[in-house]
Amino acid sequence: MTTPLLKVEHLSTAIEEGELLHDVSLEIGEGETHVLMGPNGAGKSTFGNTLMGNPNYKVTGGRIWFDGEDITELSADKRAAKGLFLSFQNPLEVPGLSLEAFLRNAIRQRTGKPLKIFQFKKELEQTMELLQMDEAYADRDLNVGFSGGEKKKAEILQLLMLRPKLAILDETDSGLDVDAVRTVSQGIEEYQKKRGGALLVITHSTKILEALDVDYTHIIVKGRLVKTGDASLVDEINEHGFEQYLSAE
């Protein structure tokens, strides 16, 4: 059996106010697409942030393995360098730093190699076209004054430009209109199908999943994984909601 790309063993996470995740275990293989669903406040974002190494969330138990290495203690930039990516639910605004300058810097730091400017420019242009982003956004300050949809497109742009092995998408579809969801989905499809990238899609709706081939679905309730199933679990949740898992608690 091959080593999974991501292996989470008995992970517990806390903030000052108390424990948020309890004993969560999960494995994601290369190129697999997993969906994490759950009601509001179940710990979905906490899980994504903990995997990425957000210092606000303290690991109180368990280990996280990525690509065969224990990354539990690594800082976020080291995790990114190993090929982990988190698309933020609320991407931060950085005034004075243009989207393009930021991407160049990120690629340079992640690879540790000088950037091939011409190739980068071409790729950026093509990717922005795919995401139906006006090329003027490349010169604009990162996320500053972007609409909700443009912010999410910018996240997927980063995903495609940075080429991670595993991307965690935290509520990437929330607050988007139908057209924006379609465009963003196309970007994710490109990553999933053409590049074979693995995905952990955190969502509480299902619009974004329509275009993706889902391998596994996990249900999280009150910080615990209560059920893992295949793609059909998504439809079941769609029909019946989380009711039965809540009452089981």
């Binding site: 990114a80 950085v94 005034p95 004075g96 730093l97 990120a106």
Partner: protein, 465 residues
């Protein structure tokens, strides 16, 4: 202020009393004999010699300012007001003594001159050691010379007419000191309608330990003319106090435009008590770009008098206060003409216990119908031990002024740092990127090589956080 007040001040120069006691007290450091000696060294015309002595008198009778950062560490008895290197001014770098030339080479001045400047003046301690202006610019009738030559040259009358009329010695104690012991600096005259396409630059280097630098810059941009002037300053660090009390007087005539850019990076033992003022006529534009990184204590508030109708001023400034620095900076606008407009965009950063204070004053006088003013200041504190204060004053004497003010004080958000780190950027780099981004509205206004220098300064300051 404006015309009437300038005239009043002028008269008051002659309305003073001798105070023997004060003279005596100052005998150790600054005496009439020392001032006379400087005057002699510099072959001043008689009026200047008188002016210096009167200024000294005013200096002795004016109290030290008591409203800003402490300048107790500044002991005038131990500041040498005049230090001259053993050379006179040269017109080519080859003739400048090697050691001094090397200093300016290290600062990149000769290279910048070759690549992107129309003329350069380089001051070392109290005197200019180099001055040159491109032939094509000189052919346009542009005068760019050291102040000493200007005093006796073709434009002597013009200099006498304008010298310390905008900043009279009665303005404050260090203006008086400047009047008494000033040395070096530049005189620029741009004739009517002449547009100088590439910038002129003066660079001030204070090398002597425990010395003062008191250069005087006088620029007159005549009607319809256009100029960008750049000023750079630096000094090596000593463990005794140094003093910079320069004076900049700018006259922007009808329909003219002047941009005055400064990157100040004095060493951290420097007391920077500099005075800058511009008088702007009808339909003319004054632009200040100011970067303050160095010095132990700074008092710096470039002032613009919008005298003419439809005149306009923009001030863009950034101040970076690190450990042991107390930088009190800002701008002052005095709007007299109709439909005058002023815009201030100020940024300040403080770290390692540094104190950064933004202080500004907007005065809209009764004559300034239809005036506009907008102030935007933002401060960034990089840790819990640093300080940032904002002291904006506004005095509006018209009923129809359009005035806006926005102030923000903040810290680097941990979430933003995590966001950048999640893309593979190291923590220190992420912080530097956020700080550089914060400073971006200012660096965008700087000539390219200065913007690069500023970003390097920020990066340097951010390392080891």
């Amino acid at each position: 202020m404006g015309i009437q007040e300038v005239a009043e001040v002028d008269r008051s120069l002659y309305d003073f009393k001798d105070d023997e006691k004060d003279f005596y007290r100052l005998q150790e450091g600054l005496t009439p004999d020392i001032v006379k000696q400087i005057s002699e060294e510099k072959h001043d015309p008689q009026w200047m010699r008188d002016f210096r002595l009167q200024s000294l008198e005013i200096y002795n009778n004016t109290p030290v300012p008591d409203w800003g950062p402490s300048i107790d560490g500044l002991d005038m008895d131990h500041i040498s007001s005049y230090v001259r290197a053993n050379t006179n001014m040269k017109g080519s770098w080859e003739e400048v003594p090697e050691e001094i030339r090397n200093t300016f080479e290290k600062l990149g001045i000769p290279q910048a001159e070759r690549e992107s400047l129309a003329g350069v003046g380089a001051q070392y301690d109290s005197e200019l050691v180099y001055h040159n202006v491109r032939a094509e610019v000189a052919d346009q009738g542009v005068v760019y010379t050291d102040m000493e030559s200007a005093l006796t040259g073709e434009y002597a009358d013009m200099v006498e007419e304008h010298f310390m009329k905008l900043v009279p010695p009665t303005d404050h104690k260090f203006a008086a000191l400047h009047g008494a012991v000033w040395s070096g600096g530049s005189f620029v005259y741009v004739p009517k309608g002449v547009k100088v396409e590439i910038p002129l630059q003066s660079y001030f280097r204070l090398n002597a330990k425990g010395a003062g630098q008191f250069e005087h810059t006088l620029i007159i941009v005549d009607e319809g003319a256009d100029l960008h002037f750049i000023e750079g300053c630096s000094a090596p660090k000593y463990n005794v106090a140094n003093l910079h009390a320069g004076c900049v007087e700018l006259y922007v005539r009808k329909n003219a435009r002047l941009r005055y850019s400064t990157i100040e990076n004095w060493s951290k033992n420097m007391y920077n008590l500099n005075t800058k003022r511009a008088l702007v006529d009808e339909n003319a534009t004054m632009e200040w770009v100011s970067g303050s990184f160095g010095s132990h204590v700074s008092y710096l508030y470039p002032t613009t008098i919008l005298r003419g109708d439809n005149s306009h001023c923009e001030f863009t400034g950034i101040t970076f206060a690190g450990g042991g620095q107390n930088l009190d900076t800002g701008a002052k606008m005095i709007q007299l003409g109709k439909n005058t407009s002023s815009y201030i965009n100020s940024k300040s950063i403080s770290k390692d216990g540094g104190i950064s204070t933004y202080r500004s004053s907007i005065e809209i006088r009764p004559t300034a119908k239809g005036a506009k003013s907008s102030v935007d200041c933002a401060s960034l504190m990089l840790d819990d031990i640093s300080r940032s204060d904002t002291i904006p004053a506004m005095d509006i004497r018209t009923g129809d002024a359009d005035v806006g003010h926005e102030a923000k004080i903040g810290r680097i958000s941990d979430e933003a740092v995590f966001y950048l780190m999640s893309r593979g950027i190291s923590e220190s780099e992420a912080r530097a990127m956020i700080v550089s981004g914060f400073a971006d509205t200012v660096s965008k206004e700087l000539p390219l090589e200065y913007a690069a220098e500023m970003n390097n300064l920020i990066k340097l300051e951010m390392e080891g956080m």
